[in-house]
């Protein structure tokens, strides 16, 4: 079984996931819509997942992929709760613009 990394090189995956991660971070900072921010977070999570898989292959070890499963589980849980919170907020405020959520101040 051939290893795809022999052809592409792990560094390319690192660059890719770094960029993807940055795009996710950018999205979080750029948008006001809470749902889109959620999506950006998913992008960041996926960037990490991708890198985990790449290293799993690099080391020829299953542990990396197992971590991805856990990461997915966490992501799923997070989305479920997060969306529930958003729905609750929406019910009260009638929008989910994070700039209007300023109650949490000292």
């Amino acid at each position: 079984m051939e290893n795809i990394l022999q052809q592409i090189g792990i560094e390319n995956y690192i660059y890719l996931s770094t960029l993807l991660f940055c795009v996710g971070a950018f999205g979080v900072l750029y948008r006001r819509n809470a749902i889109v921010m959620f999506m950006s977070i998913e992008i960041m999570l996926n960037a990490v997942n991708l890198l985990l898989v790449a290293f799993s292959t690099y080391h020829q070890d299953a542990a990396g992929q197992v971590f991805v499963f856990f990461s997915m589980a966490v992501a799923a849980a997070e989305v479920a709760v997060g969306l529930a919170i958003l729905v609750a907020i929406y019910r009260n405020l009638n929008n989910i613009d994070i700039d209007s959520l300023k109650k949490l101040k000292g």
Partner: protein
């Protein structure tokens, strides 16, 4: 051939990720994100991690994104009515993006990682069978915790989205 495929997939991944963020309509964002996830699944396939790719598509595209779409529709957000952030914030966001990218890449470059020769052990390490064994032997406890986490989040989600009757 594979290299080309990698670049194409990477381009799609990054482009859709950007489009997710930049498109004004949340529905469009969601759709771009689904595309993004599919391309990532493509990467997984290139690693020969078929099971992971399938799970990825099922969980992300199938479950998470559908959930999001439902939420969007529930909230009636399928309009392009989101006000933009102030110009200053957006510039700051772009700058932060550049900064994070620069810092991370610079770190990687500066670290000068010694990349060993890519080995091929020949062992099976990513079939469903092996993964299942690893998951349920070595990672038994975290696995159980993950299940508890999911259960808790389910309960939490249900409770949170229940209508409150304080006022009535």
């Amino acid at each position: 051939m594979l290299t080309t495929l990698f670049y194409i997939l990477s381009a799609i991944t990054l482009a859709t990720a950007f489009l997710t963020i930049l498109s004004k309509n949340p529905i469009h964002s969601a759709i771009y994100l689904v595309l993004c996830f599919f391309s990532i699944a493509g990467h997984y396939l290139m690693f020969n991690a078929q099971f992971l790719a399938i799970v990825h598509i099922i969980v992300y595209s199938g479950a998470i994104m559908i959930l999001m779409l439902f939420t969007i529709m529930l909230m009636n957000l399928n309009k392009e009515d989101e006000q933009n952030k102030s110009a200053l914030t957006r510039i700051a966001a772009v700058l932060s993006f550049c900064l994070v990218a620069f810092v991370l890449l610079a770190t990687f470059v500066k670290a000068q990682p010694v990349i060993n020769e890519y080995k091929v052990s020949g062992q099976d390490y990513q079939s469903i069978k092996v993964l299942g064994q690893v998951l349920l032997n070595e990672y038994m406890v975290p696995f159980e915790f993950a299940s508890v986490l999911l259960l808790v989040s389910m309960i939490g989600a249900v409770l949170l989205s229940k209508k409150e009757h304080i006022n009535s």
